[in-house]
């Protein structure tokens, strides 16, 4: 029986490892892998979440393993921050693993057993990232996480574009990891101790600590998909099998947030306020850039991937805000902002996993990822459609679901930043609030497009009529996550009491009396404003039911079915509905300058007229391609050195010799 939360977590992480290895015993049997191992790992996830919830309020506990570098055995530590993210990991995994059990019916290119192994190594490495307490353990877990997810992304390695996506992903992940490594190199500050404790103890000069922070921001930003390091994300997340996409978007991105929090508040101590400004600016840029691209995507999984960029941006905005307030010593507001962004981490984990799993189910049933070939699935697959609806509403930030709570907290934090000493900062902050509001509204637009085109309307392809609804395990997974969305939405007080502990740990400050009652959220920092989602929900439900009853009572409930009227059009077919491109058109029109659009319009005389339109990322075209070109050019130049003539080679040695001799002369 584990004594400290840490032991429990380690035990469960080890259990994941064992489950993964067990997958190799009978790699090709769907029965064992799908119907035994994955549900087991879901159980582990549930247990992990439970233990982590207990651990948030428990005191931090350490353990030192026997393995590691000679002078640096692996240190593990479990404090409230890591417990929070472990809870996130466990809770999300519960749903995702359940779903995966049903999802990996036919092994996608690879044997299900192998997938099971990679999947669980991925889980375990994420757990280790959250527990690591020295630079080496952290880096090993971090890179292992990247590696295992890379193999999962390239499951269908026969497709060239998936290989390309995987390559891009691993490359950027590795560069980011190198940046993090260097940041640790700065942090250890001359004491050749790489434990986080010694880093906390080390006192860095301001310029050096800034270098450390910037490197960390670079490294973790690359993993989180902040603009302009986001290019891999819309490629890699859709390429993976859906449960893996869910894990990557829902959980893995959060480990980057965890890293930033750990480095900024825990290891570096007291960050100066202007770091927060940087984080805020990048966050808002990512949020805006992400959401406008979300609205114009035609591939449902790409759409969700871009939306992840948006949400990560919002989380970072909250983080930046927290740093700013912390820097100015406005602890209550700092706590409010931090809690808002932590809350959004939890929310995003729930809803984005839910949505990705929904797309996974659709993909399984129809084999289609292109929005233009879907539609009307709410009739065929209600078990997928209704949970997904909850996810879509939640991510659009609508009350009383969870997305709204974090938005509410964040806007409160923005709104009452008025007394920041720096004049221009408190000028900027309301604009930030405006951008956040705009992003949320745009997210709503994107979600209407996403949900309406996939699940509503007429099926755009004849094949969709045969779509099968999700199996039992998949339904369980979806329902679990949907329930999570609702619970996070209506019980904010309970969640925030957990988050308060974390923020006390990080900032030494927390929200004074976040709750007036157990059902009413009224943080003192948000002067007298309050939000009681439960009441909200009850009243709304009451009104709706009363209306329903009233109508039924006073009038009749007669209804008959007839063909759609549509202003008296005689025959309506599926092609008359908006296509995904059509629905995105206003956004393309309004935010023209941000997109790189190439259109192929049919001329009047084409006998098979064809309309093609591709929206691509300017940052890729103008930021990354030039770099690639440059490297290629340099490589070409370098080859001139080696033209196969032995005399030349001798000359090199000769000159080297003379130069060095001249050096010592």
């Amino acid at each position: 029986m584990p004594t400290t939360p840490l032991d429990g977590c380690l035990l469960l992480i080890a259990a994941w490892g064992v489950i993964g290895l067990a997958g190799l015993v009978r790699p090709h049997s769907i029965k064992i892998v799908g119907h035994v191992l994955f549900p087991l790992s879901a159980l582990c996830g549930l247990a992990l979440a439970a233990i982590a919830v207990r651990g948030i309020n428990a005191p931090a506990s350490h353990v030192v393993l026997l393995i590691g570098l000679p002078d640096l055995p692996l240190h593990l530590r479990c404090d409230s921050l890591s417990c929070l993210f472990l809870m996130l990991l466990g809770a999300a995994t519960t749903g995702i693993s359940l779903f995966a059990g049903g999802y990996f019916r036919q092994g996608h290119g690879a044997a299900p057993g192998l997938l099971c192994l990679q999947y669980h190594i991925f889980l375990a490495s994420m757990g280790c990232v959250l527990l690591a307490d020295d630079a080496y353990a952290f880096m090993v877990a971090w890179e292992l996480m990247a590696l295992s997810s890379y193999f999962l992304v390239t499951t269908q390695h026969r497709l060239a574009e998936i290989r390309r996506a995987g390559f891009l992903y691993l490359l950027i992940a590795h560069l980011g990891a190198l940046a993090i490594l260097l940041s640790f190199g700065v942090l250890q500050g001359g004491s050749w101790q790489f434990t986080f404790d010694s880093m906390r103890a080390a006192h860095l000069s301001p310029p050096w600590s800034t270098v450390a922070f910037m490197l960390a921001l670079l490294g973790f930003g690359a993993k989180a998909g902040l603009v302009p390091l986001h290019v891999w994300l819309p490629e890699a997340h859709p390429a993976a099998p859906s449960p893996v996409s869910a894990l990557m978007s829902g959980v893995m991105l959060k480990t980057a947030i965890y890293g930033v929090l750990r480095v900024t508040f825990d290891l570096l101590g007291t960050p100066p306020w202007w770091w927060g400004l940087v984080a805020l600016a990048i966050g808002l840029a990512s949020a805006f850039y992400g959401v406008i691209f979300t609205a114009v995507q035609n591939d449902m999984k790409r759409l969700l991937a871009w939306s992840s960029i948006e949400n990560i941006g919002i989380i970072f905005a909250g983080l930046g805000l927290a740093i700013i307030f912390h820097g100015f010593g406005m602890s209550a507001l700092a706590a409010l902002a931090l809690i808002a962004s932590l809350y959004h981490c939890l929310n995003h984990a729930c809803m984005k996993s839910l949505l990705f799993l929904g797309t996974g189910a659709v993909l399984h049933a129809t084999g289609e990822r292109n929005l233009g070939k879907l539609g009307g699935l709410i009739h065929r697959m209600p078990w997928v459609a209704w949970p997904t609806l909850i996810g879509a509403l939640a991510i659009a930030g609508l009350p009383p679901l969870n997305g709204f709570v974090s938005e509410w907290l964040l806007l409160q934090a923005f709104l009452f930043a008025g007394d920041v000493p720096r004049a221009f900062v408190d000028m900027l902050l309301p604009v930030g609030a405006a951008i956040v509001a705009l992003c949320t509204a745009l997210a709503g637009y994107a979600m209407v497009k996403f949900y309406g085109i996939i699940f509503l309307g007429q099926p755009r392809e004849p094949g969709l009529a045969q779509a099968q609804d999700a199996g039992l395990l998949e339904r369980l997974g979806l329902v679990w996550l949907a329930a999570g969305c609702v619970a996070l939405g209506v019980l904010p007080v309970q969640v925030i009491s957990l988050l308060n502990t974390v923020s006390r740990g990080l900032l030494g400050a927390s929200l004074a009396d976040p709750a007036a009652h157990w059902w009413l959220l009224a943080p003192a920092a948000a002067r007298g404003a309050s939000y009681g989602p439960l009441v909200f929900l009850v009243i709304a439900a009451l009104v709706i039911v009363l209306t329903l009853l009233g109508v039924r009572m006073f009038y009749h409930r007669r209804a008959r079915r007839a063909p759609a009227w549509d202003c008296g059009f005689v025959r309506i077919d599926a092609r008359m509905q908006d296509s995904a491109e059509g629905f995105g058109q206003p956004i393309r029109h309004i935010f023209q300058p941000f997109f790189l659009i190439e259109r192929e319009l049919p001329s009047a005389f084409d006998h098979l007229p064809r309309y093609r339109m591709a929206v691509t990322d300017r940052i890729w075209r103008y930021g990354y391609e030039p770099v690639g070109q440059l490297v290629r050019r340099v490589a070409e130049l370098v080859t001139v050195l080696q033209q196969g003539r032995i005399s030349t080679y001798l000359l090199y040695s000769f000159v080297t010799l003379l130069v060095l001799l001249a050096l010592v002369l």
């Binding site: 080859t639 033209q643 003539r645 032995i646 005399s647 001799l661």
Partner: protein
């Protein structure tokens, strides 16, 4: 003007001869002549070693003198000569740099070498202190020769004259290395030459010529 004993004057004369010979090799294009020059260089080296041995009567110097004689004066030139006749390479094609430029660079290198040798010579207690500079010069000149030649054969000859320079350096700076090492070095040179012989025939049967421009296919394609 300090008085230098006759023997040492002779040694210095040998050194000067070596340098001269290297210049000659640098400019010479006829392969057979190169071999003769090499042999002469070896002979001078042997003589110098012998003189030093006599003056300082260190016995292992006699042995190394004998080694030099047998290996560098007799055996290797004979081997090369045979190879030349068997493979029929008598002339080197036009070198990469024309000879006058090569000479000029050679002069500069000699100056550089002497400059380099100053500190060493300064604390050398041996009789033939001033000759280290010449040894370095010979090495570097041989290096240059290898760079400028186009025939495998002449490159090898350059390589050997570099070995001569090394021996002379060892001898004049330190009265030669310990015997173990001397033997090892000699063995290596011998083996190297045999390997080279094999090589020549292989190259020949592949390209039916010893021209190095056949050996420029392995490179980075731009």
């Amino acid at each position: 003007m300090v008085h230098i004993p006759l023997l040492l004057q002779l040694v210095n004369a040998c050194a000067a001869g070596l340098l001269l010979l290297s210049f000659a090799m640098l400019s010479q294009r006829r392969v057979v002549t190169l071999v003769y020059l090499l042999a002469t260089q070896g002979a001078l080296l042997c003589l110098a070693t012998f003189l030093l041995a006599w003056r300082t009567n260190q016995h292992h110097l006699y042995i190394s003198a004998a080694l030099t004689l047998s290996l560098k004066v007799l055996f290797l030139p004979w081997l090369l000569h045979r190879l030349i006749r068997r493979l029929g390479v008598y002339w080197d094609t036009e070198p990469l740099l024309n000879s006058s430029v090569t000479m000029l660079l050679g002069l500069l290198i000699v100056v550089f070498a002497f400059g380099l040798a100053q500190p060493i010579a300064a604390l050398s207690s041996t009789a033939a202190r001033s000759t280290i500079g010449i040894a370095i010069a010979v090495i570097l000149l041989a290096f240059m020769m290898m760079i400028t030649r186009r025939k495998a054969m002449s490159q090898v000859i350059g390589f050997l004259s570099m070995e001569n320079g090394l021996f002379f350096g060892a001898m004049s700076a330190t009265y030669g290395m310990p015997l173990v090492v001397e033997l090892g070095v000699a063995l290596d040179v011998l083996v190297a030459m045999l390997v080279l012989g094999v090589f020549f025939f292989q190259i020949r049967e592949q390209f039916d010529s010893l021209d190095l421009h056949h050996l420029e296919s392995l490179k980075e394609k731009p």
